[in-house]
Subunit: 336 residues, 2 copies
Amino acid sequence: MNDDRILLAHGSGGRLTHDLIRQVFLPRFRSEALGKLADSAVLDSPGSRLAFTTDSYVVKPLFFPGGDIGKLSVCGTVNDLSVVGAAPRCLSCGFIIEEGFALPLLERIADSIRAAAAEAGVEVVTGDTKVVEKGGADGLFINTAGIGVVPPSVDLSADRIRPGDRVLINGGIGEHGLAVLVQREGLRFQSEIRSDCAPLHRLAADILRASPGVRFMRDPTRGGLATTLNEAAGGREWGILIDEEAVPVCDAVRGLCEILGLDPLYVANEGKLVAVAAAAEADRVLAAMRANPLGAGSRIIGEVVEKPRGRVVVRSAIGGLRVADMLTGEPLPRIC
Amino acid sequence: MNDDRILLAHGSGGRLTHDLIRQVFLPRFRSEALGKLADSAVLDSPGSRLAFTTDSYVVKPLFFPGGDIGKLSVCGTVNDLSVVGAAPRCLSCGFIIEEGFALPLLERIADSIRAAAAEAGVEVVTGDTKVVEKGGADGLFINTAGIGVVPPSVDLSADRIRPGDRVLINGGIGEHGLAVLVQREGLRFQSEIRSDCAPLHRLAADILRASPGVRFMRDPTRGGLATTLNEAAGGREWGILIDEEAVPVCDAVRGLCEILGLDPLYVANEGKLVAVAAAAEADRVLAAMRANPLGAGSRIIGEVVEKPRGRVVVRSAIGGLRVADMLTGEPLPRIC
C-alpha cells in the first residue's frame, strides 16, 4: 500500500480493492478456497459440494429505479452463487440500522427481500439485527451470505479458459451503476435508466445445461465488465480481446456516460453474466442464453487470444486497439 | 410496534429486538429454520446436516481489554454454531469500512481474525469489502457468517427441556459488556475487567460427549443471561428458577454493576455458555465443563420448574423471588 489510510477506491472493486485483498487479507486468512478469489468459495462437504459467499450492501439511496437495497442484497448474493454453478439454497441476512430509521421503510425493504428470495427460490434461514446510534451509520446496511449446492460435474474456473474461447454477455451493460447515480444525484435525464438487478440462477443453469463444459462465469458488478475480465485474465498465458461494437450498451447509458465522462465498461451491473465457452459451443450457449427472459439481448462480445498475455484489449468500432485495465479510483461509490 | 422509528433498543437483543424479528422479519421471511430462532439455522443438506449463522459486529471501541472487533467477529459466530452442536467449519467475512480508516488498524484486526480463526479451527473462505465515505459509518463494521457440520445424533432444542432439568453456566457473567463499557467511557476503576470473548466449540463438544442427551445450549450475549433464559422459557409449559447466589459474578463486575445501577444478569457475555441437562446427567456435564480451561468456574445455577410457566424467576440470597423478564431498553449499546 502506498497510503496508510483506507480510500473510497479501496471499495471500488478495482485495483485498490485487489491490492487490499492481496496485501491485507489473503496473507492472513490463508485458505485455498479464499485464495481462488472466486465469487463464492466452493467447499467439499461430506456428501455434497457447497458454495458459500457473502456481500455487504451499502447502496445509496436505498431505493432506485429497478430495485432497492433489499432486492439487491438477495440478487447480488444469489448471483455470486450462480456464477460458480451452484443452485442457490439459503441466505443469511444481517441488518445494521441507524437509530431513527423509519420502520415502514424497513418493512418495505423486508418485503423486497421476501419477493426477491421467492423469485430466486432461496430461503432466509438466519439473521441478525444491530442498531447503532444516530450518525453511526448511514440509514441501513445489509449483509447477506449465501449457501448453494454445486453439482459434482460442475467445474467452472478461469484456469480452464483457453485461447480461441468465446466471451458472451446476456445484455446491455452499465444500467445498475447509472440508475443509482441518477437517483442519488437527482440528475435530470430524458430517458429513465433502470437497474438491471435480477437473480441469474436460471440463466446460469440454462448455460450449464446447454454446455456442461462451459469454462467460466462471473457477474460483472463493481468495477464493471472490464474489471471482471481483468480478474479472469490477470497473470494468465492468454488475454481477452473484446469487440467494442459487439458489447450491448443501450442509448440511455451511452448518452449519460458521454455526458459524465464515464466508460460503460467500468460501470456496475447487477443482472449481467459473463460466460466463457469453447468456440465450438459458443453458438449453443448463445442460443440458450437468448431463450432465457434475462438473456434476450445476449451477444458474443469477444474471444480469448494468445497475446497480449494477461491483459484485456478492446477493439474499437474503427479498428483501433486499446488496453482496458482494471478500474483504478472510485468514480461511483456506494452503488451496491 | 408502538413507534415507527428504529430505536437503539431494537438492537439490544431484548424485548424490542424480539418484537422487530417477530413483527417485521419472521412474517416475511417464512422459513421453518428461521422460525426456530436458534443461534444457527440447522439445514438438512444432501449427505450432511449443516448449521448456518450470521452476526454483524459494531462494537465501539474496536479494541478493549480481552479482545477486539476481529476476535469478537470470529468467536461470536463460532459460538452460535457451537451451541447448536455444530463443529464450526468455515466463515465468511464482510468488512464495511469508513473512508480514512487507518490501514495499520485494519491489519491488526485482520491479524486478530486470523488468530481467533486458528484457535477455533475455522477457515475464512470468502469475503467482501465495502468502503463508505467519511461519516457514512463509524470506523469499521464486520459481518461474519459461519457454516458448521452437525453430527446426525445431535438434537438440541428448548423443545426438549423438561421440569427437573438443571441449568449450568461455565463461569462469571457480565465481563464482556462491562469491559467494553469501561473502555468506551474511559471509566477509572480499580480492577481491570477483561472481556471473556473466547471460542466455545471445544467446551460445547465436551458437553455433548459427556451427555449426548443434553437438552439445550445457548451463549448469553446481548441481553445477558436473563434474556437468553427468557428466550428459552417464553411460551413454554415450564419456567426456569435461578439461584442468584449460585450465578458466578466476579467482584469487579459486581462492584461496577452496583455503581452503574446495572444488573449483571442483563450484561452481555462473549465466552459463556448456558446448558440445560437432565438432572441425572447434570453432575457429569458439570465435571466435563470444569475439565475444560474455559469452564473452570462452571456452576449449576438453577433448575427447570413446573411453575411459573414461561417465566424466569430468580431466588435471591435471602430467599426472595423476583421475575427476571427479558431485557427492555438498551442500557449498553454497541457492545458487540
